[in-house]
Homo-oligomer: 286 residues x 2
């Protein structure tokens, strides 16, 4: 186990948040902050410190890809509405060079997408070498809303978990490290956040009446998530459940998961693949 | 002419940097800072202040697209190697929400791309509603390196300027505001920056021996840029030449061009398209 580089973690959140055998979603305290002893105030400098570390690692990772390193990273974000996926993208992913990010937000499938296997649209968005891909929603929608809303026959949905595991194993075998994150808020916290979207004129645009429709199915969604964890938290691509009632904690935790991933890569600046001294002479003469 | 919102501009750089009739590239001082009276030190707080303004405008712009505003922005970046395109993306574009950015770096065309009209691959990357597209290189390569390296017959290249103007007019007519920027450095500044890439092990990966090959054609490239400005700086989509020997000045200037563009849109938070009071009741009951 690599120790976190960021000095502010009391214990490694990568381990604390990982979904292992016997995990029970209903037992997670959405208002907890595993591994972090500080408060909201101290979280700001911690996030800035982590951003500098992540940014440097990302540059080195990208540099390696120009010298033949074919590895990539894929951050998969899943959550109930208002849990803070957008904030993660903005404040964690947004702190690194946009040139190294491949972000994609999956919406309800189009007619063309529905005419294909559910992984068809996903495969098109797999990040290339040296990139950090970010999925805002993902193929897991096909076993979450699809299950809750019965968008496919039960036996079709049942087969998808295995298909997903095979798919992710294939990605991992091809050099993609998958970081799967569910941001976990309480139903009460969601209510407060939706209320704020209704109260503030500059937040109205983020509100959709359909959000309440989904909210009414909260227990069914929690069950569907539990099934996802039971069936798809694999050694190759484990899930992490991040308590997210504190937005600042969730951001720090996801930032750490990315830092931890890149640190395990054992990155280094790629050596020159040309004769440096000869190039210095050519440049001087130019 | 709108006055710049950012208090630190003495004069509006959008106007000062625009390529109008009679513009002569060779007369531009690459080490000048039109409109900005401060120095490198004061530029840091200025860039942060501008980032906050741009970030807020971008969010409002994106919000509008969810309510039917179909406008988009396209930032086109062209420059000689090392002029700082990457730094613009990282420090200017990188300060706004990644979810509102559509960045694409055009490389040498693939075999498939060469089998199509030169705008084929460009059209696929036009930003959608509410997005700020960023082209790191663009269709202008087809009249820059293509002219200097004679990658197509002279009459074929000659026709492209008009084709580009028609294409850009079509985009503008469809609601895309195009912000065309050439970052302009001196040959001496480029030499110093390439030397740094050779001197520092953590910069070697950014160096390519081909960079010196292109550098040896400096005068031909300057001529090709002058032709681009003469023929494609239109009322619909004017060029801006940004002196870029000072990286900090170039970043501030491009940041302002984006701020200025969004401010002219007359943005506002979109009103709710649902009954707010009724939704508050539904939420309370949920």
């Amino acid at each position: 186990m690599t120790a976190p580089t960021e000095g502010f973690w009391g214990d490694d959140p990568s381990r604390l948040l990982r979904v292992d055998e016997g995990f029970v979603l209903a037992e997670v305290d959405t208002d907890s902050r595993p591994g972090f002893d500080g408060d909201k105030r101290s979280s700001e400098s911690a996030l800035a410190e982590g951003a500098a570390i992540l940014s440097k690692l990302q540059e080195m990772f990208f540099a390696g890809s120009t010298a033949g390193d074919t590895r990539s990273v894929l951050l998969v974000l899943q959550a109930m509405d208002t849990a803070g996926k957008g904030g993660i993208v903005r404040h964690v992913v947004g702190a690194v060079d946009p040139q190294g990010i491949a972000h994609y937000a999956f919406k309800a499938p189009t007619k063309e997408e529905l005419e294909h296997d559910f992984l068809w649209r996903i495969r098109k968005r797999i990040p290339g070498a040296g990139k950090i891909g970010v999925f805002d929603r993902s193929h897991y929608e096909d076993v979450l809303i699809a299950r809750v809303r019965e968008l496919a026959a039960p036996d079709v949905i049942d087969k998808r978990y295995g298909t997903i595991n095979d798919f992710e194993q294939e990605l991992v075998d091809n050099g993609t490290t998958i970081v799967k994150v569910m941001l976990h808020i309480s139903a009460e916290e969601q209510k407060a956040r939706l209320a704020e979207r209704l109260d503030r004129a500059d937040k109205n645009w983020k509100y959709n009446p359909g959000d309440v429709d989904e909210r009414l199915l909260w227990p069914a969604y929690q069950d569907a998530y539990q099934l996802v964890f039971d069936r798809t938290s694999t050694t190759a691509a484990p899930w992490h459940v991040v308590p997210a009632d504190s937005k600042w904690y969730a951001r720090l935790a996801v930032q750490h998961l990315l830092i931890d991933t890149l640190q395990r890569f054992g990155l280094a600046w790629p050596p020159a693949d040309f004769d440096v001294e000869a190039e210095k002479m050519r440049l001087a003469a130019s």
